[in-house]
Each structure stands twice: as C-alpha cells, then as structure tokens.
Symmetry: C2
Subunit: 412 residues, 2 copies
C-alpha cells in the first residue's frame, strides 16, 4: 500500500517479549513488511504465553482452547507476518541468509553475545547484505551490562533514577506501573533505525544501531536538570503538590482527584476567583508568585478544602470557566476510552483473528496523524508460523518439497 | 558532516518550551541543520527565562550577568542556529517564505489555530514548498482540545491515566517528576517526521504530521492491557511490591532501596539461597510460582527482613552471585553519572558557550549508537539571534543593508 510511509521496506524481526516487539510494531504500523521470526522449538515469542488470553469465551487467566491468543500477542503481533525458524539449528542458516538478503532492516533484542553464538551478529549479516540496518535493543548496550546483566523493566527503572522522581520526599521509591524501562528504548530504536535507513538510502551502506534500555530512559531523566535544581535549592521531589509553582499539584475532590496547574499570576487569580475568593487575588499572601510560594501550604489548603467539597466535574467546570488549566486524574481504563484519543486512533480496539473485536479491550495505535499517508493496523496478530508459505514460498521462492523438508526436520 | 544520519537536511524550528524543542534537539543531534526561529519582541524562546541559570559564577536562581544562560536553553539549544524573526509582523512573511522554501522539515508547537492566524499553517507552507514535512506537536492534536485547551505536562499526565498506574492501591494518584506528558509526543513526532521525510524522498510530496501529547502518552498507557488484567483479577496497581510475581518489588536496605525481579522458580530459589534460606526452596509455601503468589506477603517479609539489615551493595552482591536480577534504586543525580551511560554518551556534560563545561551538570545525549555515523552535540546553545548573519546573509543571500533594515524595523 503505497500511501504508507514505510511501504516497500522489509523488516526481519528477531525480537521477543516487549521492548523489541514494540519497536517492530511501530515499523509495521508505519507500513513496513515485518517478518516475525519465531522459534518453533519453544512455541515462538514468549509473549504468546502471557496471561491473560482472549478467545471465543472472552478473557481468561489460562488458555481455554486452540484459538485463544494472549492479549500481549494480539496487540504486539498486529500487521506482522509470522514464520517459524529455529536459529539454533545449523540448517536454518541458508534460510536466514535468504531472509536478510533483500531486507532493509533487522531488529533483535537478544542478550549481548547471543547473536554472535548463533552466527547472526551484525558482522555476519552485514556480509550477507551490506545495505541492511541492523538494530539491537538490549538492557545496557551491545557491549553487555553489570550484575546479572538481566534487564527487566523494574531493574532499568531502578537504575535510571525515575523511581525517585515521583513520590513524597520522605517516602520510598515509586515503581511505575507503565513499563517505561521497557518502552523508551524501542522509541529511540525506531528513530535510530529510520535515521540509518535514510543514510543507507544515500550511501548504499547499512550499519549497526545499538540502543540500550538504561541509556534511553536515563537520557530522558537527564532532560530534567536535577543537579542544577538541587544546587539552587529548587526541590524537585515534592510529591503531589509543587510549592514552588503554587497553586500546583493534585487535589482530592468529592469523587476523585484533579490536577491543577496555575503557576502564573493570571492562572492563580483565576483559581482564587473560581473558589469564590476573588478578594484574595489582592491579598499580600497570594497576589504575586513569590508571595504564593512563601504561602504555598496556605493557598493549597484553601483550594483543597474547596475541591474536597465538590465533584471533579463541578470543580473543573468552575476552573475552566476562569481559564485555569485543570483536568481530571483518570484511571487508565477511562483514559483509553477518551473519545478524542479513539477518534485519532491513538488507541484502538483489540481484534482477535478468529473471533473479531474483543469486547471492552483497547490497545495502542500509532499516535501520529499523517495528512497524506495511512498509519495503523489492519491485520490481526498471526498464529505461530501462519505465514511460512507466504514468505518461504512466495517471497523466497522455496518449493513445496523444500518447505516440507525443513518442517519435517523442525528447522521451520 | 556527511557521517551524520540527517546531514544535509534543514529544519525550520518554530518551537518553544519543552516538547517541541526536544523534538528538534533530537533532529539536531542526528545531524540536521536546525534553524531556531525566535521572536525578538519577547526575548525568544521562553526557556531562555527558566531558572536556574549558569554563568561565570556557576549556578544561580536569577540571572547574574549578560553571559548567563538558562540551564534549559543550554541543554535544548545545542547544535541549533538561532535567528530572530517576529512572525506577528507582516514584514516577516517574505523572510519566512525564504526560510521554508529550501527546508526539508518545519516543526511547530503553537496552540491550535495560531499558525493559521499568523499565515504559516500547513496549507500556507505547503504552497511555498510542497516537499516540506510540517510537524505539529500540540496538547490534544491540531483540531484543538477540551477545557481551557492548556496542555501542561501535569494536565496530560492526569488525563492519560499514568498517574494511577503507580502508587499503593489505597493512595492518591502519583505525579511523575519526569515530565512524561511533555516528552513522549516529541519522540513520536520525530518518528513521524522521519517517516514522512522518507515518503517525501520517494514521492516528492511532503505532508502534515500531527502529534498530540495526550495521544502519545495514552497510546503508551494502552500498551498495558489494564482492562484485560482487571477482567481476570490481575491487580496492576499494587504499589512497591507485585504479589502476583513474588518475589518482586522494591525493598528497603540499611542504606537505601533495591529493586528485585525474581518471578521465575530459578530466580526465586536464587533469592532464597542468597538470603541464607536454601531450605525454603523446597518448602511448599515457596517452591512453585503459584505457591509463592499465595504466600507473597510471607516471602516478601522474609526478604525484607534480610535486606533491611544489609547495605544495598552487600545485598546486591549476594543476589547477583545467585544470578538474581536486582539493582540499586538510584537517585536521578547518581543515575546520570553512571560510567557506562556516560561512556555511551547517552548522558553528556553541559557546555556553556562562553564559560565551557558547567561543573557537576549533565544533560541528555542521543541514546542511539551508530556504527557508521556520528550522533550527538558538538556546538553549545546559541545566544538569541546569534546566527542571523550566518542564516540571512550566507544561506538566504540577504545583503547587509537588507539585514540592517529588518533589524531596525524589529522584524528580526
């Protein structure tokens, strides 16, 4: 489909779990042909065995039937072709060579050293296809990491410093429920892959793109100058409220919470009018920002008393009427139902390949709107090896006998 | 410099504050020529007036001298050329047209509707340069948003659901100190921009790329199937510990905290050996995952008692010796000093254009390593309008008189 930005580009996808598959999901949603290579000996991508599962009878904690597919795979497998190939079997080498020879991109998230042992590291693949962009996503970088070298999301969160950017100053670290340790690296990996691809389009030479989960997340943490803030006494870890921007923070309402962001005089005065205290806009405790910062606890207490006695809806209506930035703190399950986000297809329904739309379930779209291109997902996740024929026969030109022989030998 | 992935590409950068400038910072670090257009009437990008400042006497809360530059600008301005141009002045139109006529990319993060009023919206620019990729970063999308329409980071965090993915189930929402509401959209904007640029390289036609802060962050939240977890009773918001993966979570030590991630039998048994209780690996309370999940509080209490009596270093040494994934929970200020992250230039020193390296300060690098390209920053942030001559005279061919006249009229 020529109106997709990456139409005509082929990706050999050796990734499993979350970080790698999310990178190739974005490439697939942008129109690349992603060939997901899965090991038939292990049942393919480990995400196929993540609870919960969706099938004919809805959601369940364990597989109920042969059609059941993990919700992880339903999301991450979209628009990908699945082929089986056991890269640990030497007889896979010629198949692998045929796959990468005409590809534009390879993405892998093996632990460092594994691709070397399998004979499919950058040097080996570059020899087969010098034009190919070879992207690695690892915990600490291709050179390997410290300790056990295991790079689970929470390990990366801990090391990156993010866990101590949230929470009250006297409390322990905060574990994020959104796996930011896993999910930043794939975004940078896609940026790096597309950049290298543009370079290859001009030079004819591919290269190795090496992105680390720790480096990606820490680089984002480093965008906030925590050192500089500390040096001049600007406390950053202040919990729900931010005294130096008062009125600013998260406030309880009668039926939930709202976020209020009113650091300027205009916004702050709007807040005071909204809570029925226009008299306080001229008060020497609250008139200027410096005054409000000095009396932050007092102004926050006044506002909290008012919000606590009102529903979120009512409080927001009155703040909004005064032009004050404020919003409901939504549960993730409500957030993914936002009509605007749905209309823009930033979040989309989950489609089961056999049973269709999975009621009440949503997943990520491509949060980029193009005026002259299509992006997004129109094919559901594949069964393991579903596209062996399409890829091995139609793309690589293998004969039916050849394919049957590879299958009989458990190579595919 | 031909070994940079985006060498030869020119970006007209109309952004201010954080989300937009971070997008163009990434493009600059990848080798694009970024021309930052700043309004001389307002003193340029608002980030120039963010405390703290760095100068000859180090860091301070307010400007101490004419050389002082905000830490925000020192970070976000790197590798960008600064020109002044007052887009509200009609006489700026021909200058703007000259700037975009040969550019490859334009990035803007005005509120919806502003570019239309200024006569520089996508339609207007497309008419001047049909090949150009025009990227907009807004709070809710180019069509505009709800409420006050103001899209501060905390407003986006609140609406996206992230604030309720962290924290204990009986506590209020958690405000992240890392501005994820601001910082995801630029990453998707760069992905979209590069994708559209590749399409334009083939078709000769640019397009509008429209990324929303709310959509970008919500799409990431939607990668975790909170609906599905809830439907099968898998609680996601469990605070520091995750009972369904026990042993898993954040544990106090004698001098800090560590993250432990040991959901498999092998890892869990390693934990029990590390804490000197190899006998418990065969215990029917802790042998299998199901048993550990049922007795999560008990196994977590056992481990917590042990970690609390040991330094982080000692506990990690013993966990690592058993191959168990565990890591120190680091403060952001320690995290950005990680020698590996520094060696990979994922975090880099801050350089002041006059006073050189700012002692003790670090900022984001480009967290992508290319084997055959250079990425990163070799030029410090510019003063306001520092490159007027370089751009207006050398690139656009304006005469000295012409430039003097524009300056005298306060157009530049």
């Amino acid at each position: 489909m020529s109106d997709q930005p990456l139409a005509g580009r082929t990706v050999v996808d050796l990734t499993t779990a979350l970080a790698g598959p999310y990178a190739t999901l974005l490439l697939a949603g942008l129109g690349a042909t992603v060939i997901k290579v899965e090991n038939p000996a292990t049942g393919g991508d480990s995400s196929r065995n993540n609870a919960p599962y969706a099938g004919g009878d809805g959601l369940s904690l364990s597989r109920q039937g042969p059609d059941d597919m993990s919700v992880s795979m339903l999301a991450r497998g979209r628009n990908k072709l699945s082929v089986t190939l056991n890269l640990k079997d030497e007889r896979s080498h010629r198949v692998f060579a045929d796959l990468v020879r005409d590809a534009d991109i390879l993405v892998e998230n093996y632990s460092p050293g594994v691709t070397g042992r399998l004979g499919i590291d950058y040097a080996a693949v570059h020899a087969l296809n010098p034009r190919l962009v070879y992207t690695s996503i690892t915990g600490f970088g291709s050179q390997g990491g410290p300790g056990s070298g295991k790079a689970m999301d929470s390990i990366i969160q801990a090391l990156s410093g993010v866990m101590l950017t949230a929470g009250e100053p006297d409390e322990g670290p905060v574990r994020f429920g959104l796996p930011v340790g896993d999910m930043l690296a794939p975004l940078f990996a896609v940026v790096g892959t597309l950049s290298a691809l543009m370079q290859a389009d001009q030079s004819g030479e591919g290269q190795h793109v090496d992105v680390s989960m720790l480096g990606a997340l820490t680089s984002l943490v480093a965008c906030e100058p925590f050192d500089a803030f500390a040096a001049v006494g600007m406390e950053q870890r202040t919990g729900a409220m931010v005294p130096r921007l008062a009125p600013f923070g998260i406030l309880p309402t009668a039926d939930g919470h709202l976020a209020l962001s009113a650091p300027t005089d205009a916004f702050a005065h709007g807040v005071l009018r909204a809570i029925g205290r226009p008299d306080l806009t001229e008060d020497t405790r609250f008139h200027t920002r410096d005054q409000r910062v000095r009396n932050a606890d007092e102004i926050h207490a006044l506002i909290r008393e008012w919000t606590s006695a009102r529903t979120t809806e009512e409080a927001l209506r009155l703040f909004t009427a005064e032009g004050v930035p404020a919003a409901e703190v939504r549960d993730p399950r409500d957030a993914v139902r936002d009509p605007l986000v749905r209309a823009r297809e930033e979040v989309v329904p989950v489609i089961h390949p056999v049973h269709g739309t999975v009621e009440g379930l949503a997943t990520t779209g491509i949060p980029i709107r193009f005026s002259a291109a299509r992006a997004g997902f129109d094919r559901p996740a594949p069964a393991l090896g579903e596209h062996n024929d399409e890829v091995y026969r139609n793309k690589l030109g293998y004969s039916a006998d050849d394919i049957a022989e590879l299958a009989a030998a458990s190579v595919i």
